[in-house]
Every structure is written in C-alpha cells, then in structure tokens.
C-alpha cells in the first residue's frame, strides 16, 4: 500500500460532532505543531448550531509557509459516522484515515491507509463518567497522533497544563487521556504513518491567534473606551476580546473602576447609535458586526458621514446575502460598506489580511477616524476573524501618540474670532470640531443629519448644501494619504499581467504565485489594503495590460468599486471569483489564471471551474 510520506507539509482534517468538545482538542493539536516550530493554519468549519451537527477542523502545516486552505486531505480523523462517506471521499490516495474502531467499518477504499484506534473502548475502560468518556476521546486521538507524527509529547503535556491552569484537578485526567492514545499507538501502530513533524524554528517570533482577538486588542491600544455591540457571528469574539483585554489592562488599580465601557446593545441600530454618541463626545468608540448588522446600521452610518462624526465599525464578513451562511467566509460586503446609506455617501475602508494587520488597522482606525471625522470600516472576514493564523508578533511603538485630529480646545476657542463647524479652513475639506463642555460661551453647535451650512445652521438652500457635499467629497478624496498603502509582491513589475487581491486571500497568494511562476506564467501582484484607492493602485492598473482580480464574492464587487471610482478600462479585468464559503485555495487561483492565459478564455468564474 502506498503511503503518503511527508515532513512538515500536510493537511489533516478532523470530522467531529459539534458540542462534543472536539474544538479545543483540535486547537491543541494545531498548537502542538506550531510549538514544534512549523507554521500552521487551523480552520474551524462549523455549523450554525450548538450541538449535534457535523463540524470539521482542518489544519494545514507547511514549513514553506503556504497557509492557504488546500483541497484534498492527507490525514483524516473521522469521528462522526454521520459524515463518514463524505469524509472518506476527501482523502488523497495514499492518505490516512484514523477512526474509532470500537465499531469496525469497511470504508471501501483500497487506496488509503486505515488506522484503527478503539477510542470509545479505551475511554470506557479508563473513565467512569459518561460525559468524561465522550470528552476524553478527543484527547486520546491527540495522543495517538502525537506518536504517529513524532510530535514531542512534552509539548502537549505543557499545553494541557496551560489550558487547565486554575482548574488543576482536570490536568491529571486530561494527561491520562492523552497518554492512553499515545501508548496505544506506540504499541499497535508502529510505522503506520509516514507523515511526520520535525522540530524546527520557523515559528520563532510568530504567534498563533485570530483576527478578532487581535482586533479587540488593537482597540485597547488605539485608545477605544467605548464598545457598543450586538451579538452576531462571526464578529462577537472581537467585542469579547476587547472586554477580555480591558479587564486585564484597563481597570484602575486604586479604585477598581473601569476605564472603558462595554455595552451589549438591544440591536445593531442601538449599537452604532451609541458608538456615534460617544464619539460625538470625544470618546473613542466602536462597534463590531457582520453583514446583516451593516444593513441595519446604514441610516446611522449616513448620519455620521454627513454630520462628520468619527466612528469605527468592524465588519467581520460572512456568507450572504440575507442570513446567508453565518459560519462561512466571504468578501461580499465591499459595496455595501463602501457606499453604505442613502444619498451620496462613500466610506473609508481598511482591509486587513491577517491577525497582525487586524491589530494594527484596528489601532490605526481610531486615529484615521478622528483625523477624517467620518466612519471607518475595518473589513475583516470570518476566515481571519475566527480562525487562528500563524503571523508575526504584535508590536507597538511607545513614542506613538494618538492623532485626535482637528479638535479645538478651550484656549483655541478663546483665541478665535469666529468658528464654523463645517468650514474648510485648511483647504483639505476637513473642518474643526468642538466637543460638548469645552467652553462656557464658544463652540456650541447643533449636530444634525439635515442639510446645514458651514456654521452648522439648518438650511434649505440647495447651493449651500451642494457646497457642503463637495467639501465632504474633497475630504474623502484626500483620505488615501492617511491609509495603509497597497503591498506589492515584487520589487519592480515584470509582467504585462497584473493580479489584484485583498484580505484573507493573502493566505493562498504566495503559493499561487509560486505555482504560476513554475508553470512559466509569472505575474505581478498587488494587495489592496484600503479604500479610497491611492495613486499606487491606479498606477499598477495602468501599468498592466490584463488585471486578474481575485475576490471571494460572486459579483466582483471590488472590480465594480475600482471601475466606478477610477477612469480605467473595465475590459482589462478578469475576475477570479470564489464564493462557496470556504477560504479560497492557491490551486483555484493559479489554475483559473493558467486556464485563462493558456486558452485566452476570459469567461471563467468559480462555478465553471469548480
């Protein structure tokens, strides 16, 4: 029997029943590989449900650092008879299937290696409590895998000790469960698996975390004091991360009082309304939501845009439209955020591609929002937000100061003859703000979403209103100067073909570009990190005859945005679209591009390719 033999390059998948405690064991396994020094990208593929339905956990380990999702499974841990058929079908020839052989099965695949571990029987023999038996099955297979793949068992022992710190009673039985699996494999499964993990140092200076954890932390570092939110998958954990870090870092030691406010609102309308109210008062405030929440918030977003109130909105995108696929990923809210709300509105978007950028863009967003006095979207997605990524450590420059933008102090007001809230003094379209309570006689004005003049007075004079709208546009057009610039994969352009991508697609991109290069199809690549687009984006488009635009949505939303915002020829764009809710793969991107370049077939879409 052929056995896939691989060191530090493989995909392992766990098929479980949700609510069975598998997620933490699977995460522990991923972390075990990470601590062995090998970059990993665990992906939790879960149902919108609490208990009883199939759930999967995929881990790609790659010493080359290729961390995009990869179709085809090298090693399957099949724990859910409900999904056996589909799980077994996914295994690559020569791959491995580990299953609970307490109930033996014939999987009718001659080309894979079956590894039998009687997980249930082992647990029944060792543990009395039925619930414990169920939970510990997961650790038993982690133990078996540790032996099979040569992962140092001390790493797992330490992980168990860390996980149950404070609940010491649980440490011993968990270690016991792990060791049951390890010993069983050592006794019965010698040489069963040729996929191995060799200790390395590739994860030195790296962390394993998810974008929502990073985003919440970034809000703490960015000086956010108010988080108002409404629970919605996949954004909830960002708000919870903010709270977790505030509890550690923002409680006054002397008084025990909070230097933050954390309010679960009654709905998304209230959550954005509160964030706007707090920012109006000069407290940095944000809300976190996903597509349906954005739809509900749009009236308020227009108010903040028109009344020029800073506010930061995290959109952790999920599969749409409507309720859509709440637990799957997409990049399908580009347009609904860029142009959120009625009337002429345009919004600044920051588009992070990994947890490190989630941290940075989150902290930056408050400066940018204060500077521009407008809503800022941080457009992440479920893949970045909820899955752990191997990424560089966070860092912070202690000399950095918050940029509060143009806010007038009492002294400023004392030294001014006249002031207009919406007066463009500096020629950049950005007016000066005052905060309530600053000065006893000066600087009060009426904030409103109705048409107003430079002095914030209600007007119905169309010309004055048009003048104000034009000024706001001017402000928007200069916004790119404050935003993260695009990232280029090459130092100088070398191809007439360009590729544009953004967000979580980054995970698959290097592998894809390497595949294209080795097929003799090198291509220049640019990652967009913000909207409005700056000159570098337009130059890149100008400099290439053909632009492949890779997006994880059906309607090529980024292309629509580019075409509507710049004077570019729409004909030069070829869209590579993946919108099945799974993170895009390198093979999908490179095969799509290779097909087009070799056949000159320009009508590719995800549907046709898949």
């Amino acid at each position: 029997m052929n056995k896939i033999a691989s060191i530090n390059e493989f995909v392992i998948k766990f098929a479980n029943v949700n609510g069975s405690g598998s997620a933490s064991a699977n995460q522990m396994f991923a972390k075990g590989i990470f601590r062995s020094g090998i970059p990993v990208s665990p992906k939790n593929i879960f149902p919108s449900n609490i208990q009883g339905l199939p759930t999967w956990f995929e881990i790609r380990a790659s010493e080359k650092g290729y961390l995009g999702r990869k179709a085809g499974i090298d090693f399957m841990v099949a724990m859910n008879p409900q999904s056996y058929a589909q799980d077994v079908a996914e295994i690559n020839p020569g791959g491995y299937l580990l299953y609970d052989s307490s109930w033996k099965r014939d999987f009718k695949r001659e080309d894979i290696n079956i590894i039998e571990v009687p997980l249930t029987s082992l647990c029944v023999d060792e543990f009395d409590n039925p619930k414990t038996r169920l939970l510990f099955k997961n650790l038993v297979y982690v133990g078996a895998l540790s032996y099979l793949m040569d992962i140092n068992q001390d790493i797992f022992i330490k992980l168990i000790e860390e996980q149950f710190k404070g609940k010491e009673k649980l440490i011993a039985p968990n270690i016991q469960a792990f060791e049951i699996g390890f010993k069983y494999a050592k006794k019965h499964l010698v040489d069963a698996c040729k996929i191995k993990v060799n200790q390395s140092n590739l994860t030195d200076g790296m962390i394993l975390t998810n974008g929502n954890n990073a985003g919440g932390l970034g809000c703490v570092y960015g000086g956010a004091t108010v988080c108002t939110w409404y629970p919605i998958t996949p954004s909830t954990s960002l708000a919870e991360s903010y709270k977790k870090y505030c509890d550690q870092l923002r409680v006054d030691e002397k008084t025990g009082k909070n230097k933050f406010a954390f309010v679960q609102a009654e709905d998304e309308l209230a959550s954005i309304g509160m964030a706007i109210g707090a920012n109006w008062n000069g407290a940095r405030a944000f809300t976190a939501t996903s597509g349906p929440g954005i739809s509900l918030m749009t009236e308020f977003i227009g108010l903040a845009y028109f009344a020029e109130i800073p506010v930061v909105i995290f959109n952790i995108q999920r599969g749409g439209p409507s309720t859509g696929m709440p637990t799957r990923t997409q990049q399908s809210d580009i347009l609904s955020c860029a142009y959120a709300s009625h009337g002429d509105t345009k919004h600044v978007m920051l588009i992070p591609s990994d947890p490190k950028e989630c941290f940075e863009f989150s902290a930056d967003s408050f400066d940018i929002s204060d500077r521009l006095q407008t809503p800022i979207f941080v457009l992440s997605d479920l893949d970045i937000g909820m899955n752990d990524w191997t990424c560089p450590e966070f860092n912070w420059d202690d000399n950095r100061k918050f940029d509060r933008g143009k806010v007038l102090s009492k002294d400023d007001l004392d030294n001014m003859e006249s002031w207009g809230r919406y007066l463009d003094v500096d020629g950049d379209g950005i007016p000066f703000r005052t905060l309530p309570g600053t000065h006893p006689e000066k600087g009060a004005y009426f904030t409103r979403g109705s048409s107003h003049d430079e002095y914030a007075r209600y007007i119905e004079d169309g010309e004055v209103n048009a003048r104000n709208l034009s000024r706001i546009l001017k402000k928007f057009e200069g916004a790119y100067k404050f935003l993260p610039k695009p990232i280029f994969k090459q130092e100088t352009n070398a191809s007439s073909n360009g590729l544009i991508y953004f967000g979580s697609t980054e995970a698959a991109m290097q592998e894809s570009l390497d595949q294209l290069s080795s097929s003799g199809l090198p291509i220049d690549a640019m990652r967009i990190r913000s909207f409005p687009f700056g000159p570098q984006v337009w130059d890149f488009i100008d400099q290439h005859e053909t632009i492949f635009l890779v997006e994880q949505n059906r309607d090529a939303q980024m292309k629509t945005l580019i075409v509507s915002e710049g004077s570019v020829n729409p004909e030069k764009f070829i869209s590579i679209l993946c919108f099945d809710g799974s993170p895009i793969t390198a093979n999908f991107i490179s095969e799509s591009i290779a097909d087009v370049l070799s056949n000159k077939n320009t009508a590719k879409s995800a549907k046709e390719i898949k």
Binding site: Y221, K259, A261, E266, G273, A278, A283, F402, P440, A444
Partner: protein, 351 residues
C-alpha cells in the same frame, strides 16, 4: 430658511440667577413651530428650569430624534451642544454620549411618534439601563410634521382632524417606563407651567432615567372637538396627584403644605424633593400603586399628572457599569494605551 437668530438686546435690569445670567441667556433661536404649539411652552419651561437651577448651558447636552418635538431643542439653550439625530434613535445616541462623558446633563427631547412607535425599543432599553437623562416626550398624539396621522399614544375613539376615529388602544409611556424600572416618571401638561417647571427641575437633578410625558397639544392637527389631546380636553380631564418643590442643597425647606400630605424625597447629592400629595392615598414611592392609579385614571378618562413614581435608590448606567470617575473622553494616552511591555507579554501568551 428656518434658522432665525433672536436679537441679543434685552432690558439691562432683567433679573439674574446665581451665575449672573438672565433668562435670555438660556434661550435658543426663534421657534418655527406653529403659533400656539404646546412644544413652545415646554421650551419656555426648560429655560425657566435651567435658569432657576443656575445651570451652565455648556454642561448640558440636548438631544432629539426627528419630528416637530425634535426640532424644539434649537429653541432653548443656545450655548448647549445639540444633537438632532435620526428618527427614534435619540436614546442610543444619548446612551453613547453619556458613556463618553458622564458629567454632562443630558436633556432628551422626543415626541410620541419618535418614542412610542419607531423608537419604542430604544426608549425601553434606555429606561431599563437607567440612562442618566431627562427624557421629555412632547406628546400630542399625532404626527404633526407629516400632517396629522394618528400616533401610538392617541386614545382609542379619539377623532382625527379629518374625522377618522382611532381604533387602536394607546401606549401609555409612563406606565411602561415604571414597569421597565425607570427611576423617575412624571406627566404634565404644556399649559401648566406651575406643575411642569418644578417637575423638570427635579428630573434634571435626578440621577437615573427620568421620563416626563408632557401632553402638548398640536394646534394645527389635533386640537379639535373629539380629540383627547386638545387644550380643552386636557384642561377638563387633568387630575394632578402631586405638586412638587425642588429644594437645592443647603436651602431651607419652606413649603406650606398641609400636615400629612408632605413627602420628602432625598436625592443623590443631598438635595431634596418636597412633594405635596393632592390625593392622600397616593404614594409615589410605590411602584404597584403608581401603575394601578394610572390604569384606573385611564379607565375613567382622566389624565393623571404630577410626579407619578420615584425611586431615589436606583443606580444609573454609569454606576452599573462601574465606569471611572474621570469621564472616559478625558482619559489620556497614558491611561489608555498599555504600551509595548504589556504587548510583549500578550505575544508570549499567544505562542
């Protein structure tokens, strides 16, 4: 053009309050509401209350939603920051503003459409959170700005200007607010300044959610025979259950209420509310009784006014959330940004 500045000139000998300010200093721009609108009397009462309490306008934030009522914050307190938000959403904006700076005094001005229909969810949750706000509902039972549709507070059987009879039962905002745990609930009538001004003063001094539902007739769309929110109807059916005096700290309590009818309610900072019960049985500290009385009055076609319910022991939203004594908008980088050393520790916890 509906922004009309009032001339600043005034008589040199106008009476001044403790801050040396005259009533004129508390005014806003000239009202563009219909002549005789109840809302303008409420604006005048707000001016009177702020003047009497010697409040600094710059320490007040006035917020509103959308509708005729929500225009009225322009017509008082020129030196206060104002926020005319979106329809029915003033409570959330005020909640956020309060989180950002707990030290300002928040005056929310809303209407019956803004509060009892589109904004009823936010209203209820603001009451439930004990947002520290004086929440004024200028209640006229009709949508004035869109020309006379029934609102959700309009009484069943009441007739519209166009002869249509309202078939739906009304929402009673004070009853709802009491049930939701609001700490201070009153009702008044725009035409009864003597009752309204002390009620407003007490509400502004109360720490927690204070609702004042003010029946404020719409002269254009809901002041006809057959309407239960007309000046005539309210004058005939108003049943005042208490009269109120607000006694600032350190000031002697001088009321000439008959013995046995007086109730003193101490407020947070040592100030005192003195209440004369016009109905001997009525106890405004009793939640159950307040709700029962409101239900009975409604059944009898009466409009119960005065301080309906007060719970001086409530904790406001800021206290519930244990927020720092320094308002959040005044915390600096040093207090907010944990710095690189702590970040390195966090990095260490993630590898």
């Amino acid at each position: 053009m509906t922004y009309i500045v009032k001339p600043a000139n005034h008589h040199p000998n106008l009476e001044k309050n403790k801050l040396g300010l005259t009533r004129r200093d508390y005014e806003g721009t000239i009202s563009t509401l219909c002549a005789g609108c109840g809302h303008d009397s409420i604006s005048a009462a707000v001016i009177e209350a702020c003047y009497d309490l010697s409040l600094s306008s710059d320490q007040i934030a006035k917020l509103s939603g959308i509708g005729c009522s929500s225009k009225s914050p322009s017509y008082f307190l020129n030196q206060a920051h104002g926020f005319n938000s979106v329809h029915g959403r003033m409570p959330s904006v005020a909640t956020g503003a309060n989180l950002g700076n707990k030290d300002l005094l928040y005056l929310g001005v809303s209407g019956d459409g803004d509060t009892a229909s589109i904004g009823i969810g936010q209203f209820m949750h603001a009451a439930r959170r004990q947002l520290n706000i004086t929440y004024i509902v200028e209640n006229n039972g009709t949508y004035g700005l869109t020309k006379g549709q029934f609102s959700a507070t309009n009484d069943q059987g009441s007739k519209s200007k166009y002869g249509e009879i309202n078939t739906l039962s009304p929402i009673d905002l004070p009853t709802m607010a009491i049930q939701l745990g609001a700490g201070f609930v009153g009702r008044s009538f725009s035409g009864d300044k003597d009752q309204l001004v002390p009620l407003l003063k007490a509400a502004m001094k109360f720490k927690g959610f204070s609702l004042i539902d003010i029946i404020s007739p719409c002269v254009t769309f809901n002041n006809h025979v057959g309407s239960t929110k007309s000046y005539d109807h309210i004058r005939e059916h108003n049943e005042s259950i208490s009269s109120l005096d607000f006694v600032p700290i350190g000031q002697e309590i001088k009321t000439n209420y008959a013995a046995g009818t007086k109730v003193d309610v101490p407020l947070h900072d040592g100030e005192m509310l003195t209440l004369e019960k016009l109905s001997k049985q009525y106890n405004p500290l009793d939640k159950g009784q307040a709700i029962q009385s409101l239900n009975e009055a409604e059944k009898n076609g009466k409009v119960l006014t005065g301080l309906l319910y007060i719970n001086p022991d409530v904790k406001d939203h800021i206290e519930i959330l244990n927020i720092s004594d320094t308002p959040l908008n005044q915390l600096t980088e040093n207090e907010l940004c944990p710095g690189s050393k702590k970040l390195n520790k966090i990095n260490a916890s993630l590898n």
